[in-house]
Assembly symmetry: C2
Homo-oligomer: 293 residues x 2
């Protein structure tokens, strides 16, 4: 089982409008609600591919209840730790492109964080791989991902860390098995890229794996247009599967590029187009390159 | 007691941003939630002025529960008919001005509408005045306000109708005691302005009362800058009080102009600035004019 962790869970709310015009009133025809947050997207992709997965995280209030109802309806397994605060919403207004309003997360108490760690330890004992995704709620200790990496390793699970900024830097200290920053996040983090296995996403320029065994670069066979939100989460799903199965790096990288591209052609984060995935998978170009550092 | 009716209740959600920039991500610092809808604003103004009032309407789901919690915290009395659907949200993004995203209302069944009418009849028997405010949910009969006007009159209450479009036109057929359209709504409605007592709001140009006893025009002593949302609801509150007390038209009109202006200087619909109200009230100019029709 692959356990995905979303500490900053969100209900994704989408308003479709013909055109977003500031300082006017927009009457919304239909509102779409969906459980969101990067780890939830990873679990959804794994579930779509038919793999065993559980989404965990912190979830509370009426918005949290709505998230649980949606995941139940989508058959995505979850096991959240309840919190007293109300889970946040992220409102996306879509016309030709997306305009996003991201609410701050709810307060998380020290007792709730302790309870989460206890439940996480139990879940991680049944997981081959743990995926730690996204930003941290403000109240959590800055090294929350290091703590979870340490607990997961002790429970016998491998760890993929997909975050940025201080959360990535602090989490990396516990030596997750793989980190997946984008190029900007890697630079900002100040991490030494030679110290850890990592896969860097570079948007339409594909991905670079930098590992103790060497460096590889993978390029999609074609540039797909669409919605890049969720492409990184699809790549994380592919890399989690590769960690679970001990897939060699070149093959893991090809899979991540193909699954990521198959997310770009769908309008909603967490969805992948399986036909695109199976088609591209055969044609991704992977080549060994000199490590750039 | 003044009973206010909000059939299209909403939770008003406000996101403050430095500047709304389409096609970018906005991280919201703090989210404000407030019970909204025109009738709720009227009840809030009446409550602020110290008058007995009850807000009624159709309310359901987790968003409805949040509205009830907020009204309880604000001490605004309410008695809503529960519905199976989830009450809608209206998201306002504010920078220099307001950009509004108005969700559609929930479905309302025929049984829920029948239950509302029964509860409304009981409430109206204890009310001196009933205020019918705002748009109608799509599923309700187009003559819903005519039905409620008839029920209120039978229960011995006077009726103020503050709506626009087909809801105003159909509702007027039951001869409410006063209608309060703005100038555009009156023209659109195709109503004969000589057939009913009415007060027409004309923004900064003040208000016009057109009644069987004559026509009067009232102008604020100064033009106040601020947020005009909610100014019409404050005027409705003043006019409901005048209906209750049998206040002569010139004095009722002066009060409506002053209370309306005192809503403009506050940032949130449903709030009035009492100091501004008491100051302006003494200085509103009212004069009898030839009726313009």
């Amino acid at each position: 089982m692959i356990l995905t962790v979303t500490l900053n869970l969100a209900l994704d709310v989408t308003y479709d409008v013909p055109a977003l015009t500031p300082h006017t009133t927009h009457r919304i025809g239909a509102v779409r609600h969906r459980a969101g947050g990067k780890g939830v997207n990873v679990a959804r992709v794994l579930h779509t591919l038919g793999h065993e997965t559980v989404a965990t995280g912190l979830c509370g209030g009426p918005t949290g209840a709505q998230i649980e109802r949606e995941l139940t309806a989508s058959s995505v397994p979850y096991d959240f730790t309840p919190i007293g605060g109300d889970t946040r919403r992220v409102v996306t207004v879509t016309d030709a492109d997306a305009t996003i309003f991201s609410e701050p997360g709810p307060a998380v108490s020290a007792a709730e964080w302790a309870e989460f760690q206890a439940r996480f330890t139990t879940l991680a004992a049944h997981a081959g791989v743990v995926v730690l995704s996204g930003s941290l709620p403000r109240e959590l200790p800055g090294d929350a991902y290091a703590v979870l990496t340490w607990l997961a390793h002790r429970a016998g699970a491998k760890v993929l860390l997909d975050s940025g900024g201080p959360a990535l830097r602090a989490g990396s200290a516990a030596r997750p098995d793989l980190i997946k920053p984008n190029a900007a996040e890697l630079t900002e983090s100040g991490l030494d890229p030679r110290a850890l296995p990592l896969v860097v996403s570079r948007g339409p320029d594909g991905m670079l794996a930098s590992t103790p065994e060497g460096c590889w670069e993978a390029l999609p066979p074609e540039i797909l247009r669409g919605n890049p939100t969720g492409a990184g989460d699809a790549a994380a799903a592919a890399l989690a599967l590769a960690l679970r199965d001990g897939t060699p790096w070149p093959s893991a990288l090809a899979d991540a590029v193909a699954l990521s591209a198959s997310a770009v052609v769908t309008p909603v984060a967490g969805d992948v187009d399986l036909a695109t995935y199976y088609r591209l998978k055969q044609h991704v170009t992977v080549r060994e390159v000199p490590c750039p550092w």
